[in-house]
Symmetry: C2
Subunit: 485 residues, 2 copies
Amino acid sequence: MTALLPDYRDPALTARFLAAAQALLGPRGLTSDPDLLAPWLTDWRGRYTGRALAMASPASTAEVAALVRLCGEYGVPIVPQGGNSGMAGGATPDTSGEAIILSLRRMSAVRALSAAEGQVVCEAGVVLQTLHDAAEAAGMRFPLTLGGKGSATIGGLIATNAGGTQVLRYGTMRAQVLGLEAVLASGAVFDGLTVLKKDNRGFDLKQLLIGSEGTLGIVTAACLRLLPASTARVTIWAGVPAITAARSLLRHLQARLGDALEGFEVVPAHCLASVLAHQPAARSPLAGAHGWHALIEFMSSRLDPAGLQEAAEAALAEAMEQGLLDDAVIAANDKQADEFWALRDGISAAERARGPAVQHDISVPVEKMPEFILAASAALEAEFAGTRAVAFGHLGDGNVHFHVLAPQGAIPGEWETREGKAISARVHDLVCAWGGSISAEHGIGQMKVDELARLADPVRLQMMRAVKQALDPAGLLNPGKLLKP
Amino acid sequence: MTALLPDYRDPALTARFLAAAQALLGPRGLTSDPDLLAPWLTDWRGRYTGRALAMASPASTAEVAALVRLCGEYGVPIVPQGGNSGMAGGATPDTSGEAIILSLRRMSAVRALSAAEGQVVCEAGVVLQTLHDAAEAAGMRFPLTLGGKGSATIGGLIATNAGGTQVLRYGTMRAQVLGLEAVLASGAVFDGLTVLKKDNRGFDLKQLLIGSEGTLGIVTAACLRLLPASTARVTIWAGVPAITAARSLLRHLQARLGDALEGFEVVPAHCLASVLAHQPAARSPLAGAHGWHALIEFMSSRLDPAGLQEAAEAALAEAMEQGLLDDAVIAANDKQADEFWALRDGISAAERARGPAVQHDISVPVEKMPEFILAASAALEAEFAGTRAVAFGHLGDGNVHFHVLAPQGAIPGEWETREGKAISARVHDLVCAWGGSISAEHGIGQMKVDELARLADPVRLQMMRAVKQALDPAGLLNPGKLLKP
């Protein structure tokens, strides 16, 4: 799909492009220094390493637009990049060395924040943690968080429609975006920052840009919603007899406490054991052994802490009577609540330390998830001898991280290389058969581009390709990501 | 944009097309009988009358798809139609007589409803009132309603991203749609009915179809969200000293009762007087005279009625102390609450009866609406001698219906024809200058297609045209609506 000029690799032409870009962006705005480039050529999981002509770091939307026009003139592909903490290689250039990285990190201003309106305007390079701090300073909160909050940028979070642990109540990044500014492939600026609660002037183009992974435009700024800070938090660690009981518990708590239910994560015994082995200081919140655990969090900006705790305790007591849980403990304070979350957040690292695994970020309809976990685990363990399947995470969103662990004695690296593709194909086939998604929250990037091409509904693929062709006819925006040319 | 066959008006070819369509759809599925067609050739406001080859009424998604393919072969334009209660002529064919009307009304099944999951799958032809009844029978509610609920269909509500009086809390139709099925211009079926809370497999094509007014695809079914039925309702009629005070009152109530605030409508003295004159049995809820009135409704599915009323009364008392309202009355029962709403809902008819007016459905950012109303009213009344501007409606959404009333003695019909275009252009120019939308909730249809072309950001228009061209290259889906060819 890329339309490079025939003589693109001509060094003189490349030099002319780089000089023009340098003149446009100034000394801080462009670098080809290998040492400065190196950290941004590999994704943070270390799976992909590419090459690039240079890294551009424009300081304003106007500079982004001018650079995109320049790239269009010279046929230079553009790889937009935020915090470089994506999970699917979507911000890593390919190995041709023909693209430039377009870093948005210098565009890091919080342009405006209004607690009264519940709105904040951030540039694309604002780091999520910075936004959390700015909101908190104004007595508000931004209702999306995730592990990479110290590096993930607003632009990247929008481009990948990021999820996290509060989606159950507040939705993904899409639900937080009230307005958007982006630079299109033509270099034109899509100016959609003004927030209108109602606006029926045709197609909602903002929605098309959210989650498009930089293939349709480059997010330069956004207006995001803020909510009043929470005044009460109740965090619970529960032992549940089975994953099906966890689903019933979820429904019960939703019925009893409505949308005060903010998090509902499931952790199988295997994952808890891995974390306890990996974190010497960690302790299991419950004395007994349980097949499954649920980490449950309620938040309220209206109920006082005592009122919320009382309601939570009543709902848990009912659940225990109904056999939906075996045992539960309510965190006595924020410190203990954070310890519960540290167990949950430590799973990925602990599982990695325990041995090789093939990982999947998948979703199915919420109601079907327990049965899917049981059926898919059994299928994978039967078909790949010696493996063990574990699933953990966002049961309330119908989204789990589904890991297939290597047999005892498998050689790290060698085993994944040999078995990984077949295992993932089987998991993804099952997900599709259950009506699910092969990428629940991490996106497609370069990691799943072949699997998407293999498994997506041809009608959707055709629509996506037509839209891509319409909005980026030269194919210069993040080529090779999301859609195969 | 339409690509009719050169010999399209050839009667033999037309006859062949109609015979093929008849064979496809069966005796109930197609009619060219002028008496049967007549009611569907004029929009319900009586502003537009068109002609059509025939009206097709397929009974299934497969029949819609086959018909669209047939229309593609013969180059026959398609005008999708639901309840024919749209406000912008979007479902009325043009006067060429070359198009067919594609009625979705026979596809009227509620395919599935799950109270536990909070989901209902409706075909496009399900009438909104029918959905309300089905939800109520299951102890649930569908959180969108509007005046035309007895005729408006789910397909039309999605195609126009309908609003109504609960948007403040629950959002527009877009926010209710969990999944979507549509037939594309190619005749392919976009199958997006399976609901996944998280799915990052590329562009969110469903969002592109919502609000596209039948120009990108024909909605055939949708999965919609249901909420638990409300158990408590508190409805208030308040007299407020000024429109700016109404905004402060809105913010105060949102801060105090959070999202239990479900409706916040404003009614100026002029509109209340019109309704009282037009409805002899109606009475003003308050004894005194007030410049502005606010109709406020709280709903809760968790608080009991006494608890909700207590919270509302406390918030109102605070507001009165702060001078945000002059007087207020809480509806004693549902009957009185319905009477309050009848005053609000009667405004359009009462204003029509009082004399000629040019009407606008506009939005600006919520914070700016009071100042916009004051500034725009002053500008219009100064520039069009003898007119009077009134604005009423959804202040909480930044969306009012802005009417410019004819001078005393103006001749109905004659005055609008002479002055309407200039008045609307001036109102729309002001709206754009304030960062607003010339169509907040009614859509573009054929009514505002010229104004959109005149006023829309060229970058957006270009993006929309590119997407339209990509997904409907022959331009057969609802031509002449939303976008000028």
